[in-house]
């Protein structure tokens, strides 16, 4: 649905994006993670057709995005701080969006009012930041978009609202095959809703992964042995990382879960536990040396 091919973008002397290639399939939720200044917002604004790339190609569906009304009519972009016209109420903002988006759905708008529970007569700019975000979602979802581009939309919101918004998005994806591209500087935020994750660092997309594949492929094993660790332990399995803590030993191992535990059982451990890995850990171990380098960044 969304594809970027070797896209680069400069701001004067600063290279904001370097040869970024990325694909988001229809109906999937793609999480873009990276520290501040990594180029996330730039990437999103290129896809939203706000900025123009210096090189490469940005496509949504089969079309170029820039100045393409057909594409933009099916797509909604919510910036990190949404903008509403001065002195506009929710209702007048809705009227404006209705005049701009052909897909606007009045029923959906009314239906969503129950979810958000914000008075239509409220001056949007006087609402709290969290409320404004909700209004932005409300308006965006009422246009029945095929693609949503969200720039750190849930960072800094309270957990209840966060949950509410996540649920709404997941529901839209499930029901209408909506495509979502969402950014955050915190991997943990995206863990429970994304099916793909891309990590952006200093303008380059350093890793892209399908989460389902990722999580079932790598395991943390905690084990203790009566005697010294057998030398042949590492044979036949792929140990990515190991460390010792007293008599306990931790192993990060790649491979199918059953096969890995069976392998360890053969050496007769006193204790053997398979501990679930957080997404962060998965990424860090997956990326090897680079992982340690950006560890601090994505865990912030």
């Amino acid at each position: 649905m969304i594809s970027m091919k070797e896209v680069s973008k400069r701001y004067k002397s600063v290279e904001a994006l370097k040869q970024v290639t990325l694909t988001v399939n229809k109906g999937s939720v793609y999480g873009l993670v990276g520290p501040n200044g990594a180029g996330k917002t730039t990437l999103l604004k290129l896809i939203a057709g706000i900025y123009k790339q210096d090189g490469g190609e940005v496509m949504v569906g089969q079309d170029q995005v820039s100045e393409n009304i057909k594409v933009k009519d099916r797509m909604v972009f919510i910036p990190d701080t949404p903008y509403f016209f001065t002195n506009y109420t929710v209702q007048s903002m809705a009227a404006f969006y209705k005049s701009v988006y052909s897909g606007w759905n009045d029923d959906r708008f009314e239906q969503l009012q129950n979810v958000f529970d914000i008075d239509l007569k409220n001056n949007v700019n006087r609402l709290s930041k969290g409320m404004q975000r909700q209004v932005a979602f409300w308006l965006a979802l009422s246009t029945m978009p095929e693609v949503m581009i969200l720039d750190e939309p849930i960072d800094g919101l309270d957990p209840i609202i966060r949950k509410k918004i996540k649920n709404l998005l997941i529901q839209e994806v499930a029901e209408r095959q909506m495509t979502v591209l969402i950014s955050s500087h915190n991997l943990r935020e995206l863990e429970d809703m994304c099916d793909h994750i891309g990590i952006l660092h200093k303008g380059a997309l350093i890793v892209q992964k399908d989460l389902d594949e990722l999580k079932c492929d790598i395991h943390k094993i905690q084990a203790a042995f009566k005697q010294d660790v057998p030398e042949t332990l590492a044979e036949g399995i792929e140990i990515v990382h190991q460390e010792q803590n007293g008599s306990f030993r931790n192993y990060i191992v790649r491979g199918q879960r059953e096969r890995v535990t069976a392998h360890f059982q053969k050496y007769d451990p006193v204790i053997l536990d398979v501990i679930p890995l957080t997404l962060e850990e998965v990424f860090i171990y997956e990326m090897g040396d680079l992982g340690y380098e950006i560890k601090n960044i994505i865990l912030s």
Binding site: A48, I50, I69, F85, V100, Y101, S102
Partner: protein, 678 residues
């Protein structure tokens, strides 16, 4: 896809009107209060103070609260453009709005359409109201429908120029305050640069015409509606050329702005200048303008080192300011490479001027290429443009001998560059401005101007002033034919018409005498020497020739015209023709010290002061009458002549002077004595 095909975006129109419509309402009210309401109040009941007539004509509408109209014209369109395009300068807004399915072109077009409507509609409604309430007083209308149209058209046109200019600046900048500032800078940029460049070129380029007539510079009007409107709309309506220029300017701004909007990188919101190329133009433009401004401020200094120092200081200041604005930071002192390049370019430029690379300062047109030369010593270019367009071309020479003389003078001035260059009126030496305006046969115009010492080049002036071409140009008497003269009237040259009692004059009606008098006077004029012309003595009398076609020609009887004086004596006219010693009761003489007092400083009319000498001796009076000059800038004595009719403050002659050596003995003796007493 309703938005795809539409020319304007309905949603954006509605939204713009909703947000900015109040500006239109406010504008309408302001106009309504200052014009139609005023008209209604003026013509209500019988409280008329003044009934405007048809003669007040089209000017009447602009006359009403002109200053309010003026301020509205130059603020409302700018405010409106700022309001409409503010979203381009705020990141949050520009991102949100440009993610919507509306093309940039449609945004632009729709904003312009809404803006124009907000500016035009209030004017139109007021015009309709004016037409509707147009009062009729005594069958006369104070203004006509045509007047209303002129008012309507002019107001809309100036509004639109201001609006489009402001839109243009809004597109090229990323900061709203800069949009406002740039708009007003652009408004005076062309005439301002013109004035500053002229002053600066005059400092460095020898012969560059300095007193170029800016009032006549129509291009300044065209490029600056502000200058144009300040010069008046009430009595000086826009002509069709101006209307056309303004329309072209509006269209040009529209096309350029639309193009730039499409090209604009939206991430430049909150940058002072939103295009990389223009940033460079801005940076060096500000540097250069500041340098010129520095030169303009000290334009009367002639020390080259001081001027270069000021250039250095001001251009550096300009560069730093421009960099600070562009970088939005005070830390710009580390990046001065650009300024170094600028200095190199300017140095090359100044060296080029110093060595006259283009040959401009050496150039004197060839004799055979010249059609005419406009030349008026002491006047520079004063009235040059008016004279050029008029039928009576005073000051335009074409006689080969004169052209040769002027070329010779010009070449001499070119040669004397190094002596003349430092000369300025303030250096103490008496100087004059002379200008050459060559009209070449190939249609080109060559203008040069120099400041020269008063006396040094008089040989050239003598040749020109004694030529018949000069005399026919300036002496009307040479055009008079005695057969057409009905009457000659000679009136003594005095300060107040009744200072010698009523009606002192000579009237000659005898045809033979007329013929004789005219011929003698014409001969006197033809033979008059340059030295006499420059003597500084005022004429004895004005001579008026009444012609048979009821017109008259005026000329004068100079003191050097001895033959004419004799003729008057012989025919018994002398008594009435000039101020005679008998007419003067006494002369009040004072010391004249121009250095100390300014040369009219001591001229008090009270004769009671003990530093005043009263002369009553007839011979001395005759001597003074004959020899006094108006050259009060030379130290000596000042003479005021009183008659017996004299009233306080109404002397026969005043501001008459003689230098010490040339004064009568009685004067010298008296003042030498008073000085000794002191």
């Amino acid at each position: 896809m309703k938005s795809k095909t539409s020319f304007f975006h309905k949603g954006v129109i509605v939204n713009d009107l909703k947000r900015f419509g109040w500006i239109g309402v406010g504008y309408f009210l302001a106009l309504f209060l200052s014009i139609p309401l005023k008209v209604i109040m003026t013509f209500q009941g019988n409280q008329l103070q003044y009934i405007p007539t048809q003669d007040d004509g089209p000017f009447y509408l602009f006359d009403h609260e002109f200053y309010i109209q003026f301020y509205l014209m130059f603020t409302v369109p700018v405010l409106l453009a700022i309001a409409l395009f503010r979203y381009l300068h705020v990141k949050k807004r520009v991102d949100t709005l440009h993610s919507l399915p509306v093309k940039r072109e449609v945004w632009f077009r729709t904003h312009i359409a809404v803006g124009s409507t907000i500016l035009i509609l209030p004017v139109c409604i007021n015009a309709l109201i004016l037409q509707f309430v147009m009062p009729s007083v005594n069958g006369m209308q104070p203004y006509t429908t045509e007047d209303i149209f002129i008012w309507l058209g002019t107001t809309i046109l100036i509004n639109m120029v201001m609006f489009m200019l402001s839109v243009f600046t809004g597109i090229i900048t990323g900061l709203t305050p800069v949009q406002g500032i740039l708009t007003y800078i652009f408004l005076v940029l062309v005439p301002g640069l013109g004035v500053m460049a002229t002053y600066n070129l005059n400092i460095f380029v020898y012969g560059f015409p300095f007193a170029y007539d800016f009032d006549d510079a129509r291009w300044a009007n065209m490029f600056s509606p502000l200058v144009r409107v300040i010069r008046g709309l009430e009595y000086n309506l826009l002509d069709w050329n101006e209307v056309l220029s303004y329309i072209v300017i509006c269209i040009a701004f529209y096309i350029i702005s639309r193009y730039l909007y499409k090209k604009r990188h939206l991430e430049y919101a909150s940058q002072a200048i939103a295009f990389d190329g223009l940033q460079t133009v801005f940076k060096y433009g500000v540097t250069f303008c500041m340098m010129l401004f520095g030169g303009f401020l000290i334009r009367y200094t002639r020390s080259i080192y001081f001027i270069l120092g000021i250039y250095l200081m001001f251009s550096f200041l300009g560069y730093i300011i421009a960099e600070m604005v562009l970088k939005k930071s005070l830390k710009v002192f580390r990046h001065l490479k650009g300024y170094g390049i600028y200095l190199c370019v300017i140095t090359v430029l100044l060296l080029g001027i110093a060595f006259d690379v283009t040959g401009y300062q050496r150039y004197v047109p060839k004799q055979e290429a010249i059609e005419t030369i406009y030349f008026r010593p002491g006047f520079g270019y004063y009235r040059y443009h008016e004279t050029k367009d008029s039928t009576e071309k005073r000051g335009f020479y074409s006689q080969p001998h004169n052209l040769e003389t002027m070329r010779a003078l010009h070449m001499q001035l070119v040669k004397d560059k190094n002596q003349l260059k430092p000369l300025r009126p303030s250096t103490g030496e008496r100087s004059q401005t002379i200008a050459f305006a060559y009209q070449l046969k190939n249609g080109k115009e060559i203008l040069r101007e120099y400041v020269i010492p008063d006396q040094k080049y008089s040989q050239y002036f003598k040749a020109v002033h004694e030529s018949m071409e000069f005399k026919t140009m300036y002496r009307n008497i040479l055009k008079v034919n005695h057969a057409n003269v009905d009457k000659i009237i000679i009136r003594p040259n005095i300060w107040y018409p009744d200072a010698l009692g009523p009606g002192k004059k000579v009237v000659i009606i005898e045809p033979a005498q007329i013929k004789e008098a005219l011929e003698i006077l014409q001969d006197e004029v033809k033979n008059e020497k340059y030295e006499d012309m420059m003597s500084g003595k005022s004429a004895w009398a004005d001579v008026q020739f009444l012609l048979d076609d009821d017109t008259s020609v005026k000329d004068r009887w100079e003191k050097s015209y001895i033959l004419f004086e004799k003729w008057l004596e012989q025919n018994g006219y002398i008594q009435g023709a000039r101020v005679m010693p008998e007419d003067i009761a006494y002369i009040a003489v004072k010391k004249n010290d121009p250095e100390q007092d300014g040369y009219r400083g001591r001229q008090s009319h009270t004769a009671v002061n003990h530093h005043v000498l009263k002369i009553t001796d007839s011979d001395a009076i005759e001597f003074c009458l004959r020899n006094c000059t108006n050259e009060g800038y030379k130290a000596g004595y000042a003479f005021t002549f009183y008659s017996e009719y004299h009233q306080e403050d109404r002397p026969v002659l005043r501001y008459q002077y003689l230098e010490h050596e040339k004064a009568p003995d009685v004067v010298k003796a008296y003042f030498e004595k008073t000085e000794k007493q002191q």
